[in-house]
């Protein structure tokens, strides 16, 4: 068991930069927009990471129970996941940037939802469920374990390793956001963050479409 735990931790630490890299374009604008300050940034990234843990445990459970039969299904789910995530980020980004010009009545309510910690948690879950390279590697390893407890233990330690960077990033981003607000209006920072989220959303969306054509061909 110790070998499995260490494998998870080391894999998480090893591919953690790539893992962080996948989440950074979403997490950074999200923190800068609504969760500025070192402590708040750290707290937000912790909630985000907990969301990812839930997603990973879901995968651990599914892989532990269904094994290889589910593996192919998860791979092919990349496309709709990316498209869905992309669409969500576009709506989120547009809402906090130019939403009050486009649909003022809806935006105020939506922004309240998006800036809440529940929203951060949901973002974490969705990002965790969206297959990326580190997750694919972890899933490939988990498939070789063929046991539910081992799979759960492995994914938990994989999450622990990969979250180290995300937490540090959250704290640093929050602090930088706080510095930025001293020079710029908070509304403007939210707008810029919203645009960045929309651009990331468009990219996710197009990547999803690309995968869709790969799988369908």
């Amino acid at each position: 068991m110790l070998t499995i735990l260490m494998s998870g931790l080391l894999l998480g630490l090893g591919v953690g930069t790539s893992c962080m890299a996948f989440c950074t374009p979403v997490l950074v604008p999200h923190i800068v927009a609504d969760h500025r300050g070192g402590k708040r940034g750290l707290f937000t990234s912790t909630i985000f990471s907990l969301g990812r843990l839930v997603a990973y445990l879901t995968y651990a459970l599914a892989l532990g129970v269904a094994g290889e039969t589910l593996s192919g299904g998860i791979q092919s789910s990349a496309s709709p996941m990316l498209i869905g995530m992309g669409a969500l980020l576009i709506i989120y980004g547009v809402s906090i940037s130019y939403g009050h010009y486009i649909w003022p009545n809806v935006t105020s309510r939506m922004c309240g939802h998006f800036s809440s910690h529940n929203s951060t948690f949901v973002l974490g879950v969705l990002m965790g469920l969206t297959p990326c390279l580190p997750l694919t590697m972890a899933m490939a390893y988990a498939l070789t374990l063929r046991e539910l407890p081992a799979s759960i233990a492995f994914f938990t330690f994989f999450w622990l390793g990969s979250s180290t960077y995300t937490l540090a990033l959250g704290g640093a981003t929050g602090a930088i956001g706080q510095l930025a607000v001293a020079r710029m209006q908070a509304g403007r920072i939210r707008r810029i963050s919203g645009i960045a989220l929309s651009v990331v959303g468009i990219l996710f969306f197009s990547e999803g479409l690309k995968f869709l054509s790969v799988f369908s061909s």
């Binding site: 130019y98 960045a196 929309s198 651009v199 197009s206």
Partner: protein
């Protein structure tokens, strides 16, 4: 008075000549050619400093610059690989070395910071297949030009700006989208009416909110490029309409990329500039413009209005293609906004002679410094492509 003006222009043009000759001696390996090449910016500097208007000659130099640049760029592509299509997987191939485009600097730079120099070794973590030395040269030149001139880069020597300069040419009338020919051809009156002043505040006119798109775009593509290990903007860059277009063999990637490239080109580089006579792409979207603008916070040059001479005619706000001189700014501080490319249009348009390039934070006019320095940079960038044409074209004909 005139003797002073001509003397100053002559001194400046000698400086431009010496600097251009110095920077291009190694490039051309032939003194006569470098000498003749250096004469062009020197004469241009002289004429620009003694002429009453900056815009006509600056625009002519800019358009010729763009044409030579892209002709040279395409020639290099044809010479090196025999095609304007970017072959599949070419960027990841060992041994491929490409001159880094300045637009990729902010994207390559963060990757370099994150992963170190090994990204420049082809075949390993390729962010952009170039050598470290080439990257440093382009980065250094961009950094120097950005810090010295700020978005003056965009108005004088942007690799992409010449096309927009052409499509956005002509009078701008304050209001953004002019769909009828009658309105496009209508000349502005000497003094702005209240209606026109209101028009200057339209959504695509001068609202500061629209300008923020470029910051968000720069933030997103810098983050994504850092993690994707490639300059992501290249995949949608509208300039690829005439160079390095994606290979149809790339399947879905080709269709997504080419749709974005053509779509952005048609909308932002062609239709909107033609209809609005404004450069919406440059001031609201371009990540390179945003990056250079950030560096420009250190620039010693600032375009501003002498409020004592200003009669609030708003002609400067109406002719400004970058929404840098806005109605609020004219009435307020008189300083052009961050987006100012120092193109000289507002200076030319002001009948009161109230606008000029100043040393930041002072009332000292420094146009005679700004123009020569801009020309030196323009002709330094251009020399690479002139060199390509001179050396490659004869063997290809």
């Amino acid at each position: 008075m005139n003797v002073g003006k001509y003397g100053k222009a002559l001194l400046a043009s000698i400086g431009v000549f010496a600097a251009t000759l110095f920077t291009n001696m190694n490039m051309f390996h032939e003194f006569t050619f470098a000498f003749l090449y250096g004469l062009i910016p020197a004469i241009s500097a002289f004429v620009l400093l003694v002429a009453k208007r900056i815009t006509p000659l600056r625009r002519a130099v800019y358009l010729i610059f763009t044409f030579i640049l892209w002709f040279g760029f395409d020639l290099i592509a044809l010479h090196e690989r025999g095609s304007l299509i970017l072959p599949v997987g070419k960027l990841g191939q060992t041994g491929t070395v490409i001159l880094p485009c300045p637009a990729t600097i902010p994207m390559i730079f963060f990757g370099w910071m994150a992963y170190g120099q090994e990204v420049f070794v082809p075949g390993s973590k390729v962010i952009f297949p170039t050598t470290f030395n080439l990257f440093l040269i382009v980065f250094g030149l961009m950094l120097l030009q950005g810090v010295l001139l700020g978005r003056g880069y965009c108005g004088w020597s942007c690799l992409f700006g010449g096309f927009l300069e052409a499509t956005a040419s002509g009078r701008s009338y304050g209001k953004p989208v002019k769909l009828t020919l009658e309105k496009i051809l209508k000349k502005p009156s000497n003094l702005a009416s209240e209606k026109e002043k209101t028009g200057l505040k339209g959504l695509f006119g001068v609202r500061e909110e629209v300008k923020d798109v470029k910051w968000g775009f720069l933030l997103a593509i810098s983050l994504i490029s850092t993690i994707a290990l490639r300059p992501i903007f290249c995949e949608i860059c509208p300039s690829r309409v005439w160079n390095d277009y994606p290979n149809p063999a790339s399947g879905a990637y080709f269709w997504l990329s080419i749709s974005a490239i053509v779509g952005l080109f048609v909308v932002f580089w062609f239709a909107l500039p033609l209809l609005t006579r404004k450069k919406l792409w440059c001031n609201a979207i371009c990540p390179l413009g945003a990056f250079v603008g950030l560096l420009g916070m250190l620039s010693p040059f600032q375009v501003k209005i002498d409020r004592e001479k200003c009669n609030d005619c708003m002609l400067c706000a109406r002719v400004c293609k970058e929404y840098a001189m806005t109605a609020d700014r004219v009435a307020g501080s008189g300083k052009a906004a961050f987006e100012c490319t120092k193109c000289g249009r507002c200076i030319d348009s002001c009948a009161q002679g109230a606008i000029d390039v100043y040393l930041r934070g002072t009332s000292k006019k420094v146009r005679s410094w700004f123009i020569p320095i801009s020309l030196i940079f323009t002709f330094t960038w251009l020399s690479v492509f002139v060199w390509a044409i001179v050396t490659m074209l004869p063997s290809m004909l």
